[in-house]
């Protein structure tokens, strides 16, 4: 009996130690609230944003599109492969140029190919949303896109002051996910658009590991709230919420990611 308990404890320790690595799929552009429409550059990078650490190799994504005024535009063919340099390595990523039109919310959505994480022996697929607004005209930011794993925002992801809260609802095939586990990370190293690399300089220093990847829980209705302590980009990743749990006979974690940008009042 005692042995069984010990065995179980050891198993739990091993099992819970693994997900501590916070992978984050980035869909990045420097500015999410623009006065006017025009061309913007986007970088798609699968990385560890707080530490600008180990960056994972991206395969050609399954889907990449933008939604504005409820109309979907496929952008998969506009993706170009790049090499993204982190502080510790360099890996395959993608970039795209997109010409924003008119006014409103442009909800960029990425469904990457599942990534095999050898350390955990699982596949990870992070369905990622990032919203760029033009002219302050709200159109689609709060709409559900219909991704299998999705965070639906309750606050405009591009109109946050430092100190505001960001709220969202975690959904799996459109249904709220009670008590979903959500990882939160600050983009602590500025992405250098021209160099396809993270800046060496970190913005802040974490006092301890729990501040690198902050883990929070959604409530019984799948809703979460996070107070934003600093200007910049923040990523939210709800773990394993999508309906599919197997890929190539391995465990699959379908995660839902959203990025928000906060600004200082000055």
């Amino acid at each position: 009996m005692k042995k069984a308990v010990l065995g179980l404890t050891a198993f739990i320790l091993v099992a819970t130690a693994a997900p501590a690595m916070a992978h984050f799929q980035m869909v990045y552009t420097p500015e999410s609230a623009l006065e006017k429409a025009g061309p913007i550059d986007l970088k798609l990078v699968f990385t560890h944003p707080f530490e600008a650490g180990h960056t994972m190799k991206m395969e050609k994504p399954e889907r990449f599109f933008v939604v504005r005024k409820g109309r979907k535009k496929d952008l998969l063919d506009t993706l170009k492969p790049i090499q993204w340099t982190s502080l510790t390595n360099s890996a395959a990523a993608y970039e795209a140029e997109y010409r924003l039109r008119g006014m409103g919310d442009n909800v960029f959505c990425l469904v990457p190919s599942p990534y095999y994480e050898a350390q955990e022996d699982i596949y990870i697929q992070q369905m990622t949303k990032m919203v760029v607004n033009t002219a302050g005209f709200p159109t689609d930011w709060d709409a559900e896109v219909g991704l299998p794993a999705e965070i639906v925002p309750l606050d405009k992801p591009y109109a946050l002051w430092t100190g505001n809260v960001f709220r969202g609802v975690v959904k799996s095939n459109g249904k709220p996910v009670p008590n979903a586990e959500i990882e939160v990370e600050y983009m602590n190293h500025r992405p250098l658009m021209a160099h396809n690399a993270f800046a060496q300089q970190a913005a802040v220093e974490a006092p301890q590991d729990a501040f690198v990847t902050m883990t929070i829980r959604a409530d019984a209705d799948g809703k979460f709230v996070f107070g934003i302590p600093r200007a910049g980009w923040w990523g939210f990743c709800a773990l394993g919420v999508g309906p599919a749990d197997e890929y190539k006979e391995k465990e699959l974690s379908q995660d839902a990611v959203i990025w928000v940008q906060a600004r200082d009042m000055k």
């Binding site: 006017k36 429409a37 005024k69 109309r71 010409r99 039109r101 008119g102 006014m103 409103g104 033009t134 002219a135 302050g136 005209f137 709200p138 159109t139």
Partner: protein, 107 residues
């Protein structure tokens, strides 16, 4: 009788008041070249309200209306790009007009 009058006054007041909040929001309009010598204009209100049905006029140098129409269900209006100088007027009511000069409308 007195009550009836009050109700009528109330209804009139409501009718008078209800449209005001919509107009209180800033009208927005943005135009760009849509290819094949067309121009696309998108309208809306700063609170996100649709501009479907809002009147749009395109006038030439002399102020003569050369194209006239309404924003569609997507709050958009498409017209053929005029030859000479022109101006687009998004007309959401008195004091709520947005004017965009043709030379500012680019790709």
């Amino acid at each position: 009788m007195f009550k009836k009058k009050l109700v009528i006054v109330g209804v009139l007041l409501l009718v008078a008041i209800v449209p005001t909040p919509v107009l209180a929001h800033t009208p927005l309009c943005s135009c760009y070249e849509g290819g094949n010598d067309t121009v696309i204009c998108e309208g809306g209100f700063s609170d996100g309200s649709s501009a479907a049905g809002v009147a749009v006029r395109v006038v030439n140098e002399d102020g003569k209306v050369i194209v006239k129409g309404k924003m569609d269900d997507f709050s958009e209006f498409v017209f053929d790009k005029p030859e000479g100088p022109y101006k687009v007027i998004f007309d959401a009511g008195p004091g709520h007009e947005v004017e965009i000069k043709g030379e500012e409308i680019t790709e």
